[in-house]
Symmetry: C2
Subunit: 255 residues, 2 copies
């Protein structure tokens, strides 16, 4: 359980922003070629980091934000009683570390859930570019805004949704995000444990497990350890409570 601090050493000559297949997700801006090149120049690509490594730690000085190239990580804070509270999961093409921009230090820690490659974007350099490139600036604003909206959807989830609705919502969100980066929307591998899912959704592990089996019995999905197949997106959507169709909120009876 000795989680090492990830030490980024730049790859000799890896990929570039210009050719990165994730660029449309990472910073969806319409930049000039030379602007992209400028951006590319300040970005440091890491060699793969290992599962369990800490990318940054709560309270550390915020020197960089990170874009994920491959793999996945979780961000979390520690509660007063030393428990870890997961704030979010991050996948390729997503930016991590934005939340700390105001304080100059990371308000939470980031830990890899599997072998992961990131792009490091030094904030000082980025800040210069922001002054020169309005589009980049707006793009970053959009990323911040998206972060806020995501959090607010979570607020909604935590304050109004039942356990079933939370899990359904969670799975559908994952589905959407996987789809956005070219993976299957219905079949994927959960990179987080049931424990982490429960922590994130404000549920006990046991509840998560029970609902997985309940959904399985109802043929909404197929579970095999961490492998998941969503069998009935429409029904999941119904259960999630986000559907506009009248969901009248009846919960699942066992099949």
């Amino acid at each position: 359980m000795s989680s090492k601090i990830a030490h980024i050493s730049s790859m000799p000559n890896s990929a570039h922003c210009q050719t990165c297949s994730l660029s449309s997700l990472c910073l969806p801006v319409s930049l000039q070629d030379d602007e992209i090149e400028q951006l590319d120049n300040i970005v440091e690509k890491s060699r793969p980091l290992h599962k369990g490594d800490i990318l940054f730690r709560q309270g550390e000085e915020l020197r960089s934000i990170f874009a994920i190239r491959a793999g996945s990580l979780k961000t979390f804070t520690l509660t007063h009683d030393g428990e870890e509270q997961i704030n979010g999961f991050y996948f390729p093409g997503e930016l991590v570390g934005l939340a700390g921009l105001d304080e100059g230090e990371y308000p939470m820690s980031a830990k890899l859930m599997e072998t992961t490659t990131v792009c490091e974007i030094p904030y000082a350099r980025l800040d210069e570019l922001l002054g020169q490139m309005p589009e980049l600036r707006r793009s970053l604003m959009r990323s911040l805004g998206r972060e806020i909206r995501d959090d607010q959807q979570m607020l909604m989830l935590l304050s109004r949704k039942t356990a079933e609705q939370r899990i359904a919502t969670f799975l559908l969100k994952l589905s959407t995000r996987y789809q956005a980066r070219g993976y299957s929307a219905t079949q994927f591998r959960l990179s987080m444990s049931r424990n982490e899912i429960g922590n994130y959704l404000g549920l006990a592990v046991e509840t998560v497990s029970r609902i997985f089996t309940r959904f399985s019995s109802a043929a909404l999905l197929r579970v095999e350890g961490k492998e998941i197949e969503l069998l009935d997106l429409a029904a999941l959507n119904e259960v999630s409570g986000d559907s506009h169709g009248e969901g009248c909120g009846h919960s699942l009876k066992l099949g």
Copy 2:
């Protein structure tokens, strides 16, 4: 219940950013005098708007963000089943509307809880200034970051705290915010109803009411309708679950 859309008409010659006592809260930046003047030029001060008025509506094009000069408002979204979900309460010196910057439209509505005066900051003009003034840019970043951190504290609250802890946390947060703007930290008037508090904290109205009386019985506070006096900040802190001292989590027994 006919909530009018607030229509901002600029005051002939009201206050200026240069002399605003809230400027340190609103945009806590170290700007040059001429920079502040530039900012002041694009800000439109409203005449007082009435309780119940809508400042902006979810889905509307985001033309401006707002700074509150006096009064208070709540932001909320509508759930799929038409219920209102409160996202936050805003007080003088705070910025509203930031969350929509990415999409170009407001992701939620804002409704006044009492007679309120705001400064309107047209986004197009602001964006120009952002390119010219690095400090202003960082300040706005900080505001966005703060919004994110606040949301994440709420996530923590909703996913891990009991009803008692939520109410205690809520009251202490209010206390801090009031203090920051020069009001009493222990005596204030709740501008929101019990219903709105419950909605915001993910609790039923009845639960909110019960806990208020429970706190009252335990001499943690004094309630008289919307008037509140916090009698034992230390104890409230203890109950809130945020204290670092060992809280061993025993709930209040009636006095």
